[in-house]
């Protein structure tokens, strides 16, 4: 058993866009579907992040399936050029839990250019927030264009930041071509089902 034997989902996106909020919504659903799930957080103060995760998941996940992995101040190196330490952490998960089905790797908050190494993530979600500006999709950052699924989060905040969801939608459709994107509000859970459908279809039943 090793990292090659589990499905790996990478979640990237700018600082504060809602990556952790999405992970916290997804994990209970996946566990409910009967999967054994592990979570890795790459961030500053990763151990603190991991502790927050551990607490928020309570009995859903064993504490040793939640891990923080430091990335030497290079969040994109950790998921792109040299993912070896993340893979080592996944190897440790599979050693301890041979029945593990899926691991979610949350990248540290990064810029719009960050993408996941395909050896680290079988499926790559990029989370942006409407509050970062309605022009984010049309900047065509590699994260936005190359992700398997683009998640546009915090739709509830659109009115407060003068972001027009219709503009975002048409820009996203434009830059994504045939590739999917989903609007979410991770605060109340709207749209999370749709994210889950993609994950189920593209990763877990694949």
């Amino acid at each position: 058993m090793g990292y090659r034997d589990v499905a790996k989902i990478g979640i990237g996106g700018p600082v504060g866009s809602g990556k952790t909020a999405l992970v916290r919504r997804l994990v209970p659903e996946l566990v409910d579907e009967g999967y054994e799930v592990g979570v890795i957080a790459n961030d500053i103060m990763t151990q603190e992040d991991a502790d927050v995760f551990r607490e928020s998941f309570g009995d859903l996940l064993p504490a040793d399936l939640v891990e923080g992995v430091e990335t030497g101040a290079c969040p994109h190196t950790g998921i792109r050029e040299d993912p070896s330490m993340n893979l080592a952490a996944i190897d440790e998960f599979t050693e301890r839990h041979p029945d593990l089905d899926v691991v979610i790797v949350e990248s540290g908050g990064d810029n719009l250019a960050a993408t996941f190494n395909p050896e680290l993530a079988d499926y790559f979600l990029f989370v942006i927030s409407v509050a970062e500006g309605e022009d984010i999709p049309r900047k065509r950052g590699p994260g936005v264009t190359q992700a398997d699924l683009l998640v546009v989060n915090k739709t509830d905040l659109a009115p407060y930041v003068d972001a027009d969801l219709e503009v975002i939608e048409s820009d996203a459709a434009d830059v994504r071509g045939d590739d999917p994107f989903v609007f979410t509000n991770c605060k109340d859970g709207t749209g999370v089902d749709e994210v889950l459908e993609h994950v189920d279809r593209e990763v877990l039943f694949a």
Binding site: M45, T71, D82, A88
Partner: protein, 239 residues
């Protein structure tokens, strides 16, 4: 000294930050020095790294690497395991051991996956494979300098040049970490690197022929920093 082109390329490859073995996640306590405000400028950095070279990299890692290289040439697994165990014992902070063994395992794994073509040694049945199996089984820690020594020897890189490559990449790794942690100009960093070259040469010359039993470190402050790092409030690095 002359080495052939293949060995020279091996030296470059093994000391290149492009080698994906997670070196960029290790600071070997440097982050803690920065956290505690002990590193202000390039002079502090130069002094610190010279100390690491003379007290840790030279008398521990270089000795381990050189003896692993020897063990590899004489196909002596017991000697190799002995060297690995000793390096483990003299590396005090647990995070230093962790950074080193993780990188060691990754180097093993990486080459196992990409070296089927290596004609000079039978990598599948050879010493390296046996060592890798012991590492996998958790029977030996598999420290990076030890794996490095075996890999270098099996690819024909001579002992001294292997030690120089390793010490050099240790320095560039920590300088890169310093640059991401603090405020150092790229030219200042290169100046420090240039100044440390003579120390790299000095410590490799001094320790390349040491017996494995001579392995020892004396770097109490660095070790304390390494241990305090385990409980640091801000952590960007694994060690």
């Amino acid at each position: 000294m002359t080495i052939d082109s293949d060995s020279f390329l091996t030296a470059l490859r093994l000391s290149d930050s492009f080698l994906p073995v997670g070196g960029y996640t290790a600071s070997y306590g440097l982050e803690q020095y920065v956290n505690e405000g002990r590193i202000g400028d390039g002079d502090d950095l130069r002094a610190l790294l010279a100390g690491y070279l003379r007290r840790v990299v030279g008398p521990c890692e270089t000795v381990a690497l050189a003896n692993a290289h020897d063990a590899s040439s004489s196909d002596d697994l017991d000697q190799l395991l002995e060297v690995d165990a000793r390096l483990h014992a003299v590396t005090m902070p647990s995070e230093f051991r962790e950074s080193s063994t993780k990188a060691g395992a990754k180097l093993c794994e990486l080459l196992a996956g990409t070296e089927e073509d290596l004609a000079s040694v039978d990598v599948r049945t050879g010493l390296r494979q046996k060592f890798a199996t012991r590492i996998d089984a958790g029977e030996t820690p598999g420290h990076y300098p030890v794996v490095f020594g075996v890999v270098a020897q099996s690819r024909g890189l001579p002992r001294l040049e292997a030690c120089l490559s390793h010490a050099y990449s240790f320095v560039t790794g920590l300088l890169g970490a310093a640059q991401r942690l603090g405020r150092f100009g790229h030219t200042e960093i290169q100046r420090v690197l240039g100044d440390l070259e003579s120390v790299v040469v000095e410590i490799c010359d001094r320790h390349v022929d040491d017996d494995a039993t001579a392995m020892a470190s004396f770097a109490p402050l660095a070790e304390i920093m390494g241990m305090r790092h385990e409980r640091a409030g801000r952590r960007l690095f694994m060690s």
